[in-house]
Assembly symmetry: C2
């Protein structure tokens, strides 16, 4: 390890690293190097590698500081030389101040700590004041540094619900002098603040604020490494599935100043529109500000381009006069800088062949690029950018497809508000369309409440003044986020887009506290409904109805690309003709799971099934089932017709019978009255049906094998519907699926019934139809004995929901008590109900597929668990050699794209 | 198929078959052939093979009669020649009458139908009357034939609860003539009965009674084949695990008559004592009777040997005078025949090297052997006979061991009555010690009630006048059987011994109806307690306390043989020092499963665990656990001491926490008062702990990983106990077992806690101890990823109870709703919770063992599910290469024997 190169320098269009070294230098570090190499102006500095982070976690602070010391000293020396400044300068030299930032392989916005203006002390501040001729700037930087360092490195924090102690000092100065903003403070005020801040540090941290820049540097570098293991960083990694062992690099870079006066500024820019995908350079900036001011949302930033500014004014009803005076774009206020920036963004996008998200600072009329990376984007933007870039010849088909994050398509597939509902809805406010999509829900004011209400099944809208990393779990739980403050690049906006959640920021006329929301004088409380349209920024009162999106335009083109490149096809899980139609429009080629029991719950049907349950003998059950027959036949007719020409897998009755009986006395009395029997009989039956572990109880084919008359009725309904449609000239293709097989004997008994009834019906109707009989593989024993089962079954469909439950021994209904803890503690990498566990459950799936095909090579194999719409699971299904995956209608496009990606990889 | 040999003849010391052809000829047919070959007198006849039964089930009656016709005709012709009689004789020839009996590979007592005296009609009866000079015998035989044939072949049965129609005819004749027994009927009566019987057949069956002997023969042969598929035959096969496809042979054999007068008789004999194993020829006989009279229990038979007769008289207080006059043994009444029989039994036992169960008939002073087979025996007799025969040089060690049915040892291991309890118990009656063992329970009078009460968890004593195959399911459910009538070879006695159930028959002074029991004038009703000692025949009033049997004498010798020949060793599942001691006495070498949670339910301990559950934070939980620590330490000290020198596998807390909290309001109020909190808090906690599928919920290592402090406490208690014992000079060997592992990460987190705490404790105590850490493999995923887990775990113990639940997806608590139906319908061959499913669950066990040993060849592997005491499962464990099996203390000897058998096979 001692021969490791731990530090990579960059600056003045030279660099030891490059863009391909992301794993070692982190995304930020690799791109800082790369930007130098392609001639973009970047302040000099160096990157300490991610390997050092791993060393740090293993060997501890002191050992690692010792190991990297010499190289860091070289890094500082190189930076000094390039920037013509001196770290810890005294007297003649211009002091070198540096920023210390984390930079992991994957972007973790707002997660990692940053220290700016490092190198400041009572000596250097004077030199800077003198050399810059701006004493206020110097002391303002100094006080910012003490606060940031005190917070990040020395752990000075708000205690017992008090305001942050640094903020208390500032509040007092402003109150004493009757200032409304920080910028009103005088040099003398700032000098006093610096002293007070140092006193705060001494009091809270129990030691003096370090004056030696080298001590400051080591403290900050180690704080970055430490921040890798904070609770919020760990939580973010869990959510984004970033391995703990990746570690973070540390970037130490010469400071440049956007706060040196009105000829300075800072901003964030995107080479294309991250929300819509439009090929339009855009971004936000602030004059006389440091980077944190833009992203924190404390000041509302201005548009970079004139077109962006004009659009902003239109949205806000701002007059051109006011716009030009108070809200001019960078294009208008600093045209030369703007042109340079525009050239840089174009160069970077061309170089990386992808949309760039850039940070820049203008110091006294000179542009410096501080960061570039592939920009996060909404699902719609992702699709549009790929289609556009393909058209523009920037990327090829394979890249266009592989660059999609299939899950992000979800945003394009979620309902949007109905036009008619919007027309009637009362508009409460309008804010920035920070993250698109529509959401309706109840108001909550804290992340905790968001979690609590969401767990109860409520859709919630998290309403905050502004969000911070502490709000992350609440944002995750919420359907939408509304903030009083912040721009398009505020924490709330960036994170919400990353999550694909609807978000509106800086909504007009709203005031948010920790317990209330007031919109233009109207008070809203926790639990009230509001609706957000994240694509327009409009906030509506109450609930607003939604409609289903369709597959066309760029989305349709992307789906065509997927279709062209896929091997597996995609079916849908659908229990109704309307679901079947929706899915077919999204490109589903058949139904992989039609759950017949859902049909039993509707309206009067429940009474027939209850009558069957209460029947004392076979005859009674048959009479009740006879009432269900025409209803089921009609259901199947509708679904088979909607999927005409494609296979429709119909699963026979699956849930335990007690799901059809009521547990409360009132409903039992109703049931007794309706069926003309005593309530005692109803109660006794309900009691007798009670199960300790219904998951593992009397359900699935166990019902069909103990009450064969149920299977007879269902088989009859399916084949009658098929015969009728065939007679009408259609091409119905039912695939009758026996659920919950554990032994081949269970399958054989059901198959015998189905084939016998099918023969009878075809004889009666005088029509010959095609149909298949197969089974669900959802019990471990079925997977283990798949070679026996495949001798008879014509198809397998993996029910990975139940297979996961039984393979792990987790009840999905109960696992909420320990699964989140398991994921937090790293016992599980992710929720196996969301992402197929390829090691365990997947082993059974592969085994069953191989065993099944070993006796029947043409065996049709698919998956109908919810994993069928989850991209990593879809890839697994592809590798396993499945014929298709099946998922809910709205996930069909996601699965299609994932299937194409799997085929291309 | 048409070249099949379907019929095998025997007679006059010649035979086409032999004893090795049991699969083809059935046990009875093969032995009839063999007896001829070794010179034993057997009436001539022939056997239709079991293959014909299979053909019959496939091709149907008419086709199969056609296929076997020619060979059967040859069989009849050969028999006619040997016996010098003519089938369907008219005039001069003596008519050949035959019996038609079933004979499967495995004995199925009372299961299959038999027809005697076949060949009788209005013609032959006259010839027989004339030739035999005994008209009454002729017509008595005729009327018996019509009744038997009418019942068995033509389906004439009692209807609507009426008495059997044939019995109604007999009752009327006896009533009209004031007879008390059948034998009082005159020839004229019998002739009238014959006519009436024929009328009954015509009326009930709708056709005439067949007069052609060939028609009678085909009808009977087919009825035997049909009887293979009667409900009671199927039930018996399920219980005894006899495959349906084995089929039955049919034996057609010349009739010989035990009812031709006082120089005739019939009986059943055993070459050794089937109850005790004593090497003493014994049996029972009746003068002037047919075979059915002995086994039906209608007449109480006499002893064959003088010693048996003397013992009988002593038991019954019968004077020698009365004994010699009315109850003389065959040895005394027919000494020549007795000597011949004694020689035959000796010859047969020597020939077969096993105890023989024989049927014989004496016709007019000539002995005929009708059947021989290896006799059923009690567990004690099984052990004693094998040990004796080994000593006598009849068999070798391997045979002695392999001849044991391990499950039968259960009888020797069940509690017997305490001597002191018997001394105080009121003796109600004394009967035949028909099947040994002790049973206490409530009285029931029907098989249905026996089942119903047993399902409720009651121990029941089935009390019947006499038993018939219809009572089988009730006998299966009962703890003991008491009958008013019947001898040692009655249906009740034979079946009870086969089942290993305690049975007393022919109890003195008792009268049984379908609803009442009167013993010497005292009336008992359903639900009253009585106690049976099947080894002495004594019936006691009320409940009688029992004691534990010990391992000595022949039993000890058999265990020594097992020990010498085994490869696997046997551990026990024990949660207390006393269980550990018992098991150690039975030869257990360690504990395979010590369930720590059982310790939490006792007395005050439950309050500490409840306090822990209700604690709101870590500190509260730790305080409560601190109270449990000394208690657990004491538990472990006791158990480790009792098993000193052997490994003790201690499983960490396994059940979900809600098992420790009360569900009813009263107990919740008590809990609230005791813990000083409000009942609402208790209720809320109980509600929050509720699970939909507790089997798959928050339990096992999921508890230890979410509340590490529980594992810490348990690890501390175990290691503290170990250190203390080590310090006292003992050799404790704890093996700490983590339950319910599904991922290696779960194991690692628990192992880290255990090893950390163990290091702390050893440091504190200044004692270094040996211990192991390993895991239970009971979740399918653990088996699938065993190679990962074995990198860390030192041992695997298969928890096949849970593994079966999850592999099949069966909740053991709920499967009662469909498992019995599945077994009845043949979907399952047997209950997978009793007998390990080698195909599915076993596949996971083998896979996990192989995967585990692939990374750690020395991995210790055992089983601690209840299958560990089930012989076929033990054999599987041996084949899989396990180091040990573990089972409940009373099954340890069974497992030891099964392990030795597995090693010998």
């Amino acid at each position: 390890m001692s021969n490791l190169k731990r530090v990579y320098t960059f600056g003045d269009k030279k660099a030891e690293g490059n863009a391909s070294m992301k794993n070692l230098l982190g995304g930020k570090g690799a791109n800082l190097a790369e930007m130098n190499l392609i001639g973009v102006p970047v302040p000099a500095g160096f990157t300490i590698t991610t390997e050092v982070c791993t060393e740090y976690n293993q060997k501890g602070k002191d050992a690692v500081v010792e190991l990297m010391k010499a190289e860091v000293e070289v890094g500082i020396a190189t930076t000094e030389k390039t920037m013509n400044a001196k770290f810890g300068a005294k007297g003649e030299e211009f002091p070198l101040l540096v920023s210390v930032r984390s930079g992991a392989r994957a972007s973790m916005p707002g997660m990692m700590n940053t220290v700016l203006n490092l190198g400041m002390n009572d000596e250097t501040v004077k030199v800077i004041a003198e050399k810059s001729g701006n004493e206020k700037f110097a002391y303002d930087s100094y006080r910012r540094f003490i606060q940031m360092y005190g917070d990040v490195v020395m752990g000075v924090e708000a205690e017992n619900g008090e305001h942050c102690p640094f903020e208390q000092v500032l509040d007092k100065v402003k109150k004493d002098n009757n200032y409304s903003t920080d910028t009103e403070m005088t040099v003398e005020d700032l000098k006093a603040v610096v002293e007070d801040f140092k006193a705060v540090v001494k009091a809270k941290a129990g030691e003096d604020f370090p004056t030696n820049p080298w001590d400051q540097l080591w403290g900050s570098v180690c704080a970055v490494f430490d921040s890798w293991n904070t609770e919020r960083a760990i939580l973010y990694r869990r959510m984004e599935q970033i391995p703990d062992e990746w570690g973070t690099a540390v970037n130490v870079q010469a400071m440049v100043y956007g706060n040196m006066g009105d000829n300075s500024g800072t901003g964030v820019a995107f080479s294309r529109d991250a929300a819509t995908g439009e090929d339009q350079f855009n971004g936000e900036y602030l004059i006389n500000a440091q980077g944190e001011d833009v992203v924190s949302g404390v000041r509302t930033p201005l548009e970079i381009t004139k077109i962006g500014s004009l659009r902003w004014a239109e949205r806000n009803g701002t007059s051109e006069e006011v716009r030009v005076k108070d809200f001019a774009s960078l294009e208008e206020s600093m045209p030369t800088i703007y042109n340079e920036l525009n050239n840089v963004q174009q160069k970077l996008e061309d170089h990386y062949s992808d949309m760039q998200d850039m940070e820049f600072t203008i110091q006294d009329g000179k542009l410096w690029m501080l960061q570039t990376r592939n920009g996060k984007r909404t699902g719609a933007a992702m699709v549009k950018m790929a289609v556009d870039m393909l058209k523009q010849g920037l990327i090829d088909e394979k890249t266009a497809i592989l660059r999609q994050e299939p899950n992000k398509l979800d945003e394009l597939l979620h309902p949007v508000f109905e036009a008619s509902a919007i027309a009637n809805a009362k508009v409460l406010s309008k804010g920035l369309p920070a993250s698109p999509g529509a959401a309706t829900g109840i108001i909550v004011f804290s992340a905790d409440d968001a979690e609590i209400e969401a767990e109860k099944g409520e859709k919630v809208i998290l309403v905050r003044r502004e969000t911070s990393p502490e709000d992350l779990k609440g944002m995750y739980a919420a359907a939408g986020i509304l903030t009083e403050r912040g721009g398009m690049t505020s924490h709330a906006a960036v994170v919400a887009r990353g999550m694909g959640k609807c978000c509106i920021s800086s909504a007009a006329g709203i005031t948010v506290s920790n317990t209330s929301l007031t919109i233009n004088g109207i008070a809203f409380k926790k639990g009230d409904y509001i609706s957000l349209d994240g694509s327009t920024g409009v906030v509506y009162e109450g609930k607003v109805a939604t409609i289903t999106p369709t597959l066309d335009g760029d989305f349709g083109k992307m789906m065509d690309l997927a279709e062209k490149n896929t091997k597996m096809y995609v079916r849908t899980n659908a229990d109704s003709p309307s679901d079947a139609k929706t899915a077919r429009e999204f490109g589903a080629k058949g139904i992989g799971l039609c759950r017949t029991e859902h049909m039993f719950f509707e309206g009067e049907r429940i009474w027939a099934i209850r009558e069957m349950i209460l029947a004392e003998n076979l005859e009674g059950r048959k009479n009740a089932l006879a009432k269900l027959l025409p209803i089921q036949r009609e259901d199947f007719t509708g679904i088979l017709e909607a999927m005409d020409g494609f296979g429709v897998t119909i699963r026979l009755l699956d849930p335990p019978l007690h799901e059809f009986t009521p547990n409360d006395t009132t409903s039992q009395a109703e049931m007794a009255a309706k069926l003309g029997i005593s309530i005692e009989v109803v109660k006794a039956k309900v009691d007798s049906l009670h199960e300790f572990n219904p998951m593992l109880g009397h359900r699935g084919c166990r019902l069909g094998n103990t009450y064969p008359e149920i299977t007879e009725m269902q088989a009859r309904a399916i084949i009658e519907a098929t015969c009728d449609l065939k007679a009408k000239g259609l091409n119905p293709k039912p695939e009758i699926m026996v659920p919950l097989i554990g032994t081949v004997e269970e399958y054989l008994m059901q198959e015998e019934i189905i084939r016998r009834v099918a023969a009878e019906v075809q004889e009666e109707k005088g029509v010959k139809v095609d149909f298949m009989v197969g089974t669900m593989i959802e019990i471990p024993r079925a997977a283990l004995t798949a070679n026996e089962i495949a001798k008879h079954a014509e198809f397998f469909s993996f029910g990975t929901n139940d297979l996961t439950q039984m393979t792990f021994g987790y009840s999905r209904d109960d696992a909420g008590k320990f699964l989140p803890i398991y994921i937090n503690k790293g016992i599980l990498k992710n929720d196996p109900f969301q992402q197929l566990d390829q090691t365990g459950v997947g082993q059974l799936v592969e085994m069953a597929t191989q065993k099944g095909r070993s006796v029947k090579p043409e065996l049709k194999v698919g998956i109908c668990g919810e994993h069928g719409g989850e991209p990593t699971s879809v890839e697994f299904c592809h590798r396993t050699g499945m014929d298709y995956v099946s998922c809910s209608p709205f996930r069909v496009p996601i699965a299609r794209l994932a299937a194409a990606q799997a085929a291309l990889r």
